[in-house]
């Protein structure tokens, strides 16, 4: 009985990382592929994808990379804070519209995504694309 239980535990321990690794790789890879496609949409100037293990950044103007990364992070944090204050439930997305650029930030599982676009760009298509995750 004890031996059988131990064997099951070992099996579970051995199976778990494989499943998680495959799941994560597939999900994040699909997300990256979608973001690459989104980057080609009219008016989109780049994206930042971050999770606990990696980050992918693709911006047409890399000189603003750090500022954009900090803004993206601040927007997501503010979104969480505001949602808590007003009891808005799960944050779907936060859109920060600047005078030149707008930023759409959202979280998909462990992945924090920010899409940067020109002020007049239509982000509906982007939301639709990311909505599948």
């Amino acid at each position: 009985m004890t031996k059988k239980k131990k064997a099951l535990e070992e099996q579970a321990v051995a199976a778990e990382p494989v499943a998680v690794a495959i799941g994560e790789a597939t999900g994040t890879d699909q997300l990256k592929a979608s973001l690459e496609e989104i980057k080609g949409y009219e008016g989109v100037i780049g994206y930042i994808l971050r999770n606990s293990t990696s980050a992918a950044i693709d911006l047409k103007d890399p000189s603003k990379l750090i500022e954009y990364a900090i803004l993206s992070s601040s927007a997501l944090e503010a979104g969480e804070e505001l949602s808590e204050i007003f009891n808005l439930g799960q944050v779907k997305n936060i859109l920060v519209e600047g005078k030149e650029v707008k930023v759409l930030s959202l979280t998909v599982d462990d992945n924090k995504i920010s899409i940067f676009a020109e002020k007049n760009a239509d982000l509906e298509k982007v939301l639709k694309k990311l909505g599948q995750f």
Partner: protein, 280 residues
């Protein structure tokens, strides 16, 4: 009715009308670049407003890279928060999930700039923590925070009211030869921020150098060494005051208060307090 009251009344009326048009607006308030709450519905507590101002402030600080913030929309599963920046007046609206956000958005973008334009035309004085020049007569301390029930004043009547409120042309000021009577300077509302670093004196707070300069001008160049801080719970205390060192807090409507003082006043970072100079 002074100019700030006229602004507050007009903006409260706008918020009121918005809520009539869209009953799904749960909270609505307006604040300015100094973080001062100008108008707001009575059912939104001051502390909540202060937290919201603080949360958006983090975005504003980092938004230079996108040319400053014009609007922010947070979509949650149970509602939406929207911030509109109309020339330094920040309108916050919180909608329930069933609200027709697009409809309200259109109304806000048409109605609010129109009202603000009318107000600007009536009085080009920007709505901010401005210190009036010293008056020989003692003025009552004013609190521009509007959390009470807004007075019903149609916008059309504002012009008339403003004209009534306008003081008669001031005669040429005469130099004072007698000692000045005590001058009451209105308190400014500032957001509490921590003071970082080692060996922070617990009896000294830091205020924007511009605010200090305004106070000093109001007191004819007299150096402001002390301020009185009043919390919204009514606790008051006097502290030494120095200008804020950190340039990132300049012009943000911040008062940096040491941790011990925050504990004594039972306040914390992000809350609003009233600060006024003390002249001895």
């Amino acid at each position: 009715m002074n100019l700030n009251e006229i602004y507050t009344t007009a903006l409260n009326n706008v918020l009121d009308e918005m809520r009539k048009v869209c009953p799904d607006i749960q909270h609505a308030f307006v604040y300015n670049q100094s973080g001062e709450i100008i108008a707001g519905s009575a059912d939104t507590p001051q502390k909540v407003m202060a937290r919201v101002v603080d949360a958006f402030d983090d975005i504003f600080e980092r938004a230079e890279a996108i040319g400053g913030v014009e609007a922010v929309t947070l979509n949650g599963s149970m509602g939406t928060v929207k911030l509109y920046n109309f020339n330094g007046h920040y309108f916050i609206m919180v909608y329930s999930a069933k609200a027709d956000v697009g409809y309200v958005d259109t109304i806000v973008r048409v109605l609010v700039p129109t009202v603000l334009k009318v107000l600007e035309k009536l009085s080009p004085t920007p709505l901010k923590n401005e210190i009036p020049p010293p008056q020989p007569k003692q003025l009552p301390m004013e609190d521009s925070t509007a959390t009470g029930i807004p007075t019903e004043v149609p916008v059309e009547e504002l012009k008339l009211e403003l004209e009534e409120a306008k003081p008669p042309p001031a005669p040429e000021p005469e130099p004072f030869h007698e000692p000045l009577p005590p001058i009451e300077v209105p308190a400014v509302q500032l957001i509490v921020e921590n003071i970082g670093g080692l060996l922070v004196p617990s009896d000294t707070v830091r205020v924007d150098s511009e605010t200090l300069a305004n106070w000093e001008n109001a007191f004819e160049g007299k150096k402001i060494e002390y301020v009185e801080i009043e919390t919204f719970d009514g606790k008051t205390a006097r502290y030494k005051v120095k200008p804020i060192k950190d340039s990132k807090y300049a012009g943000k409507g911040i008062v940096q208060i040491p941790e011990k003082a925050q504990l004594a006043l039972e306040i914390k970072k992000g809350e609003l307090v009233k600060v006024k100079p003390v002249i001895e």
